[in-house]
Symmetry: none
Subunit: 151 residues, 4 copies
């Protein structure tokens, strides 16, 4: 009935959990993995999946609703709004390139050698790319369609 999200929380990052949830959902929208009308997991479902308190998901969904990306329909669930993609922000690939750019710039400035940096990247890509949860679904590796279309 809804699309299963793979949300991963990092404790070290310093970012509030609800924000990490928000960011990752928003990212799904930006990449087109989630589309207008799609149903999200219920608050309880997502909370238990990622191992946090339901209130934390309530907060994340609430913020997304506030920004117009999500619509909570009482008794039915959470759905991506019509304008979701436009609201979710700029082109993800541009955003991604910018993040990589500033990361690389900073690291080289901090004294890392290009080869070192390259090695770390390759190591991470291999490590994460070969993890079982991502390997299956191909081009949309972290999204599985659980039920049908939108309501």
């Amino acid at each position: 009935m809804y699309k299963k999200l793979h949300i991963q929380i990092e404790d070290q990052s310093g970012l509030p959990v609800y924000r990490q949830v928000m960011d990752q959902i928003q990212q799904y929208v930006v990449t087109g993995a989630l589309e207008s009308g799609d149903q999200l997991p219920s608050i309880r479902e997502l909370a238990s999946q990622i191992g946090v308190n339901p209130q934390t998901v309530v907060k994340a969904y609430g913020e997304l609703e506030h920004s117009g990306i999500l619509e909570m329909r009482r008794g039915r669930g959470a759905f991506l709004s019509d304008g979701a993609r436009a609201l979710a922000g700029i082109d993800y690939s541009r955003q991604l390139r910018e993040r990589i750019h500033s990361l690389v710039r900073e690291a080289l400035q901090a004294g890392y050698h290009p080869e070192q940096l390259s090695d770390i990247f390759e190591e991470m890509i291999e490590e994460i790319g070969s993890s079982p949860s991502l390997r299956e679904a191909g081009s949309e590796p972290d999204l599985k369609i659980i039920g049908g279309g939108s309501p």
Copy 2:
């Protein structure tokens, strides 16, 4: 008498202010813009400069002291410790790996292929790594020396 820091607080980032202060000072140390023995702005000075309560800077400086990067000298000020660069480097390299990890995870999760991602990285590393500005002007990017030499 001390080195003026350009610390930029972003309210949107979700990171606590004291953490942003810590991270940016650490970045100065890692890039070599701040060196062992250098005096930092006083707590009150930095607090008023970035517009926060002194206690917030106390917290940031205190954490840096805990990690051995800073030395607080009562009545005299805050100074970079002898092993500052090495210690900051260790911290930074851990943080860098975490940032790369999240970035890669998110990108793969969003549907990028490992090869695509790898290509973008290599491209960025080559582009930035070959720019001449990094090896010259980049070493003291955001710092002005106020007053005389170090104490």
Copy 3:
């Protein structure tokens, strides 16, 4: 649900309040009165019990967390870490040596002969070491268990 601590603040001692709190909790751990996994009073609870501002307890708990003795779990409380006893023991033994050092220095400085001092020490050690109360009742001297077992 948590172990009630009897923390006594001495205004005359010259030691900061947060330090007195730290030292006394550490003492509980070293003597085995508090063990790994035990829950401590909440910050607010302890603060109101000893009549100080919560921030003061935050500082004490924070320092103990830094030294690895305590684990703060957001929304759940403060718990003694796994290695608490070993870590507290290291700290304590350092402090003990310092205290003995000052005491001996002061006494010699005040005119005591090394032999006199040595005699007093041996006398005390023998007197206290042979008292039976130490091996029985002494192990949980100031602690009452509130509520059920440990979490």
Copy 4:
């Protein structure tokens, strides 16, 4: 003209420096090493000897004056008052024994073996007792008479 004091400041103790100065002077009085009418070093003299700021000694002398132990005579110096010994407190040897007693009790309770404790004591006594600054003066090892009697 005045009695030279050997004051030793310990940075780790957490006690304010001015208080360590006070305590040690008071101790000299209690043990009889300093007597009514004796002149103390000047503020500057003592400050430079122990390596602290003169204001710190001002504070210590001020507190001792406040408690009636010291008399500051403008332009002449600092002298022990008539009632100094009575005001300085109880018999030092009793006080010393009490400190040793609670230290030993605590350490045994914390799990130290009597032999361990004894070893630490002997080690400290030997180490400090053989230090050159204490070896010379015999029964009043840390006090040298610099000038004559009281004014």
